[in-house]
């Protein structure tokens, strides 16, 4: 079974500083996803990473993938209050019937 571990589970950020969320997964995956969820809302797709070395950036968020280490990182640059949310990584694989397996989520709170 494909297992996905995120850390930290909770992250209190100070505005203006940089932080990283880590996502490890247990077996070969085809794709890695990052989602954002605001309280009481749906999951919003942030990034899809397909291959080793992939790096994607959108605003203050940058995601990267190292398939050899089975590790993805979500880097937050100069945190702002609007980034407060829960961030999930998820992976799927043809070996796992393309079941999207989620990490436990990282709850981010940005304080002034």
């Amino acid at each position: 079974e494909l297992k996905v571990e995120q850390n930290p589970l909770f992250l209190s950020m100070q505005e203006g500083k940089n932080y990283t969320i880590y996502c490890n997964y247990s077996t070969t995956s085809d794709r890695l996803y990052w989602y954002r969820q605001d309280p009481g809302k749906s999951l919003e797709s942030l990034f899809v990473l397909l291959s080793n070395g992939a790096v994607k950036q959108e605003g203050r968020l940058m995601a990267s993938l190292d398939t050899k280490a089975r590790l993805s990182t979500l880097h937050i640059t100069a945190a702002v209050h609007d980034l407060s949310a829960t961030y999930f990584c998820a992976v799927d694989s043809r070996l796992n019937d393309y079941k999207l397996s989620f990490g436990a989520g990282t709850t981010v709170t940005v304080r002034a």
Binding site: Y35, K41, S45, F88, K99, L100, G105
Partner: protein, 113 residues
């Protein structure tokens, strides 16, 4: 236009009742899913249908029965509701098993009292 829509958004019901949640997508996707998000925000897949055929059936009590009348719709019927069924249920869809990414509905918050 909402891409993946779920109804109802909120559902409060008593233990022992039977209830249904409906999901429709207008993206032309061929694969649909039900996920359960518990109180700790953990998301776990329950079922998946590809072109109306059940392809994933996780370890879910058989009180839960999905139905897909066509590839744009996936409903979830729950019999004899229990307190532990309280959660947020998300519908999701994709094309060709993930090639288009996954689009999630807005969720149905089920509370069993």
């Amino acid at each position: 236009d909402t891409a993946v829509s779920q109804t109802p958004k909120y559902l409060v019901t008593q233990m022992g009742n039977d209830k249904s949640i409906k999901c429709e997508q207008n993206l032309g996707h061929d694969t649909m899913y039900w996920y359960k998000q518990d109180s700790k925000k953990f998301l776990k897949i329950m079922f998946s249908y590809n072109n109306k055929e059940l392809i994933i059936n996780e370890t879910v009590p058989n009180r839960f029965s999905p139905k897909s009348p066509d590839k744009a719709h996936l409903n979830l019927h729950i019999n004899s509701l229990e307190l532990g069924d309280s959660a947020v249920y998300f519908c999701a869809s994709t094309l060709s098993r993930g090639i288009a990414g996954y689009t999630f509905g807005s969720g149905t918050r089920l509370t069993v009292v």
